[in-house]
């Protein structure tokens, strides 16, 4: 499994130093924070998401290049809607930008996924939800470059691990991405931070009830649904502290996770 690294965690993994954060973020709603969902699209008419999707684009091949056009296709699979639904529950005033790279018509390969990420970085959306990944080795290097560009542009990329025997990119990159794996925790704000692991964050991802196609709801399990929980928390943080850089966001998540841990152990 890629969830736990094969190497010995460094001694730093047990450090308890963190910078206490005020609790203002807990009363935030994600107002003014742009979040890109690079996925199967978003069903804008879902009661949980109505009026919250600012723009929807979809990938299209144009003479072997991938371009992004305005889209009215909605969501072809339910997955993107499910991710947006989780974020909207935590941060209801988030501004959603749907970048559809999965769907019928042969798209959904690594190339479209990379192009979608690049589009989101060019647009400088503050947070990018990547509940997707690729295990194809040829995408390792281009993804690495893109993630560095995201970091330099101040975009915070949050990726789901695939939890399969093969590592998936970009979730196994450590410096410029926040990677998430599912936990059985039910409280959306109770997540864990495990410094030294390949995938550092754990968040609720088991039997999560969220929005689905046709105005419905589903109980879903997977790392895909842990990832948007962290995106939701980041949206709250960014509303109160709009200038946070990607590494400051990671530090803030670490602080919150430490507090969560201390509260749990003192019970």
């Amino acid at each position: 499994m890629t969830t736990v690294s094969d190497y010995e965690p460094t001694p730093y993994s047990s450090i308890s130093t963190y910078f206490p954060l005020d609790h203002a973020w807990k009363s935030a709603s994600g107002k003014g924070v742009s979040v890109a969902i690079v996925d199967s699209g978003i069903d804008e008419s879902h009661p949980e998401l109505k009026g919250k999707v600012v723009e929807s684009v979809e990938a299209r091949f144009d003479n072997r290049r991938i371009v992004f056009d305005q889209s009215e296709a909605g969501d072809s699979a339910g997955h993107g809607t499910a991710c947006a639904g989780i974020i909207a529950k935590i941060a209801p005033d988030t501004e959603f930008y749907s970048v559809k790279v999965l769907g019928a018509g042969g798209l959904g390969d690594g190339q479209a996924f990379l192009a979608g990420l690049e589009h989101a970085i060019k647009k400088r959306y503050r947070v990018i939800n990547l509940s997707l990944g690729t295990t194809k080795p040829q995408f390792f290097s281009p993804l690495h470059d893109l993630l560095d560009r995201a970091y330099q542009a101040g975009c915070i990329v949050v990726a789901a691990a695939n939890n399969l025997p093969h590592p998936s990119f970009p979730s196994v990159f450590s410096s410029s991405v926040i990677s998430v794996i599912k936990s059985e925790e039910a409280d959306p704000l109770k997540f864990g931070f495990h410094y030294g692991e390949v995938i550092e964050l754990t968040a609720p991802g088991v039997n999560v009830r969220t929005a689905w196609l046709g105005g419905g709801y589903r109980n879903l399990t997977g790392n895909s649904f842990a990832c948007p929980h962290i995106v939701g928390v980041i949206a709250l943080l960014l509303e109160k502290h709009p200038d946070l850089t990607p590494f400051q966001v990671k530090s803030a998540l670490y602080s919150i996770a430490r507090e969560n841990l201390e509260k749990t152990s003192s019970l």
């Binding site: 390969d109 194809k136 040829q138 997977g222 895909s224």
Partner: protein, 258 residues
């Protein structure tokens, strides 16, 4: 076609058709192994039905290659259009997921359920990956026994991922063998072209020949022995190698030349 090419052609084609027919013989045990593994894994995960869907063409469509349970026969070769259902999503995203309440309005599964007479309530789907490429999807449907069903657990998703690893290797071997078979079928059923008609007749003749059939029987026999265990494989290999050595040392005789 030059004279030299014409001389080499029969030999080349004979080799091709031998490969094709051995591939034919090989695909069957592969599908059987996939089915066996599906059954074992479904029991382990406490799932009522398990199925393997493989990529069908380049557009992201899927088709059922193997399935267990009462609806299995009806599922075989059923196609899933690109991006449809949980399986379509898992193929394109490479992300495993489980849904514990699929619901009746789910367009794709209600269509499949109409065909099979089965009621899909829960799905666990994980990608089948070979060398970084997603080549299909492994699905588990419902629990054994009567509903309400307990949702699939994260530990069961991890188990499914390990079974997917083993099944993906078998599916890849099946796909390679099938490629040869399809190639042979194409040659035999191809469009009428003057220069290929003779070749096709010749190939048909070869397949009908006693010598070719005998060679296939030998391949089947070896596969049978090899599947019995390590000891049998060792004896078989040693026997075959000593026959080969003997044959090589007596190459001037016609001892093993049929």
């Amino acid at each position: 076609m030059t004279e030299a090419n014409r001389d080499e052609l029969p030999e080349k084609l004979q080799r091709l058709i031998e490969t094709v027919d051995i591939a034919n013989v090989l695909t069957e045990p592969l599908t059987q192994s996939i089915a066996n593994l599906l059954q074992v894994s479904a029991a382990d995960i406490n799932s009522d039905e398990a199925s393997v869907l493989i990529r069908d063409g380049d557009e992201g469509d899927l088709r059922f290659l193997s399935a267990t349970g009462e609806a299995a026969v009806k599922l075989l070769n059923l196609k899933v259009p690109a991006g449809k259902g949980i399986a379509g999503f898992v193929l394109s995203s490479g992300q495993p997921m489980a849904v514990s309440d699929v619901g009746e309005e789910e367009s794709f599964y209600s269509e499949v359920d109409k065909t099979t007479g089965y009621s899909t309530q829960m799905i666990l789907a994980t990608p089948l990956s070979y060398k970084g490429e997603v080549i299909g999807v492994l699905e588990y449907i419902n629990r054994r026994g009567e509903p309400p069903f307990e949702p699939f657990t994260p530990a069961e998703m991890d188990k499914a991922a390990l079974f997917a690893e083993a099944i993906a290797s078998l599916v890849n071997a099946y796909e390679s063998a099938k490629l040869f078979r399809d190639l042979g079928d194409k040659v035999l059923a191809g469009e009428n072209k003057d220069d290929i008609t003779d070749v096709r007749d010749w190939l048909k003749g070869l397949r009908d020949s006693a010598e070719h059939r005998e060679m296939l029987d030998l391949a089947v026999l070896m596969r049978e022995i090899a599947s019995r265990g390590e000891a049998e494989r060792t004896i078989c290999r040693e026997l075959l190698e000593s026959i080969l050595r003997f044959s090589q040392s007596k190459s001037e005789t016609t001892f093993l030349n049929f």
